[in-house]
């Protein structure tokens, strides 16, 4: 069999959005290679029921381990679970999201199984029976095409790149025989999980501010724009304003921050240092607002407005509110 294992990431007993992307990609691979999609989900109480939804994205088997101890990420148990399923199914591929958890777990599984891993994959194909992937390197200044010579191919998928596809799988639910065993690394809690805003890597729209915002108190203006754009929007920041302590590091976009691929990226008062451009140039549409018509950011922007952010942004917020108010 040419089964594909999909790691379905959960938090607080519910599926994270990347879980649906992961299962959707696993479905495409399994269809090309002629196997089943085996989704694996570990979570706290209620998680097994929540994971059943994955049948609608192509999961043939849904293997769940529901335990209070799995409410937080338990890397040791997750590695054991995947190792054991891989032993039973001899999969051709194991697919993870390139989320904080998925990147940590995929590298552990690669070490445990002694198999290579392609991280942050943005494209995949099957050529002559082997899996070939494309992934950005140098923060997207170049792209590497890599062929897997062995199975299982371990792949982590860049969030927000692959579409979620509704497709019915057999959806047979099975409880894994997995107890929290020897734990070397224990996640004892989550802090700051209020999640007022989406993470910059997972948002569909990013409003990023730079030095041109002049002072941290001016972020209220960008906050208002994010609110107008709706719940799929979030804030980002340039390295300069993070280094200045105006914004938290979690918002930093660029080669030394996060690499993002939203549908729409607003660069407000960001001149466009090479390391910043590397982190956002895979956005589908880029809008730049900057006073300096020579700013490098205009070289990658689909649309630019030369002007003062303090005049342009409030007007933009107003226009978008009007649009939303009129029913989109």
């Amino acid at each position: 069999m040419a089964d594909v294992i999909a790691y379905a990431e959960m938090r607080d007993g519910t599926l994270r959005p990347v879980a649906r992307e992961t299962v959707s990609v696993a479905r495409v691979l399994a269809d090309e290679l002629g196997g089943d999609v085996v989704a694996v989900a570990l979570g706290g109480p209620g998680s097994a029921d929540a994971a059943r939804e994955l049948a609608g994205y192509g999961a043939d088997r849904i293997l769940t381990a529901e335990n209070e101890a799995f409410a937080n990420y338990d890397p040791d148990s997750a590695v054991r679970a995947i190792e054991s399923i891989a032993g039973d199914t001899s999969p051709v591929a194991i697919v993870f999201p390139a989320s904080a958890q998925g990147k940590d777990l995929s590298a552990r599984v690669a070490g445990r199984l002694d198999r290579s891993l392609a991280s942050e994959v943005t494209e995949f194909d099957v050529e002559d029976g082997s899996i070939v992937v494309t992934r950005p390197v140098y923060a997207g200044k170049a792209y590497a095409r890599l062929r897997f010579r062995e199975t299982p191919a371990l792949i982590s998928l860049r969030p927000n790149v692959f579409p979620v596809v509704k497709k019915q799988g057999a959806g047979v639910a099975e409880a894994l025989d997995l107890e929290p065993g020897e734990v070397r690394t224990r996640v004892s809690g989550i802090e700051g999980g209020s999640r007022e805003r989406l993470d910059v890597r997972e948002a569909d729209v990013v409003v990023a501010g730079g030095r041109g915002m002049q002072a941290p108190e001016h972020w209220k203006m960008l906050d208002d724009l994010v609110d107008a754009l709706g719940p799929q929007a979030t804030l980002g920041a340039s390295r300069a304003v993070v280094d200045a302590g105006w914004r938290p590091h979690g918002e930093q976009v660029g080669q030394t921050g996060k690499v993002v691929s939203p549908s729409l990226y607003f660069a407000i008062g960001i001149s466009g240092a090479i390391q910043h451009l590397a982190g956002m140039q895979t956005a589908k549409v880029i809008v730049a607002v900057n006073k300096d018509p020579e700013a490098p950011i205009f070289g990658v922007a689909n649309y630019g407005i030369v002007g003062d952010a303090f005049e342009v942004v409030p007007r933009l917020t107003e226009e978008i509110r009007t649009l939303r108010g009129a029913g989109g």
Binding site: D104, A107, S119, E150, E191, G193, F298
Partner: protein
């Protein structure tokens, strides 16, 4: 407090990257190389721990070519005690590198094994957790704070929208993220002292690895940029194009 820190020489983040004529590597001309930024947080953490404990050793290890000596000397100048160069041709596959490092580290006594959270060339974010599994050690990746008390580590790691609190017994593996500390610059005295510190070199074979490089390409071209207009008056036209031309609003 004994630490081992694994570091890498990479192109500076402001470097322009061009694919070389062979289509399999980058053109190094005009590219400035530096120690991977995240590795500096790892070295700083190790030095601070040694200083706080009043004794111990900080060993830095890299896998790379002869030019990586310079990166090791930089770490020694920051305050590391000794260095090991595992000479090999590095590829984009993290697993053979993790194996080579694990083989070198196995048998060395240490409390903390530190890495930068990722190398900014291959962006793999693989080697720290792979090495932890190969050595059977606990591991926390993307760490922004670290407390150690009575042989027990409490680390905070960055996740989407917050932090996970990760606890483990030493020895263990830490992959450092920006925010963990403020890396020091090498002092003149440090640079002089580094020249006399031990730097061991050995050739290693990077074996196995299931990934074959088919080729490298530049990034896909962006559409031709358009300046919509100047100032707030240009906003309605921008919104119209976002709705009608690219349909993202």
């Amino acid at each position: 407090m004994n630490s081992i820190v694994c570091i890498k020489r990479v192109p500076d983040s402001e470097a322009r990257i061009r694919v070389a004529a062979d289509g399999r590597s980058i053109d190094p001309s005009g590219v400035r190389f530096d120690m991977n930024e995240y590795d500096k947080y790892a070295i700083e953490e190790a030095i601070q721990r040694r200083e706080a404990a009043g004794d111990g050793q900080v060993t830095v290890i890299t896998v790379g070519g002869d030019e990586a000596r310079e990166t090791l000397r930089q770490a020694l100048a920051m305050g590391a005690d000794d260095a090991v160069l595992l000479r090999a041709d590095v590829s984009l596959d993290g697993l053979p590198i993790a194996r080579a490092l694990a083989d070198e580290i196995r048998g060395r006594p240490f409390d903390l094994l530190l890495f930068g959270k990722q190398a900014i060339d291959d962006d793999g974010m693989q080697v720290p957790a792979m090495v932890s599994e190969l050595l059977g050690l606990p591991c926390a990746t993307v760490v922004v704070s670290l407390q150690i008390e009575n042989g027990r580590a409490i680390a905070r790691r960055e996740i989407e929208g917050g932090h996970e609190v990760v606890e483990f017994e030493l020895p263990g593996v830490i992959a450092a993220q920006k925010g963990l500390n403020e890396p020091r610059y090498p002092s003149l005295k440090g640079i002089m002292a580094a020249k006399k510190k031990p730097l061991e070199e050995k050739d290693v074979a990077l074996v196995g690895g299931g990934l074959e490089l088919v080729g490298l390409t530049g990034p896909p071209a962006r559409p031709e940029p358009q300046i919509v207009g100047e100032g707030a008056e240009a906003v309605p036209e921008l919104v119209r194009r976002l709705r009608q031309e690219v349909k993202v609003l």
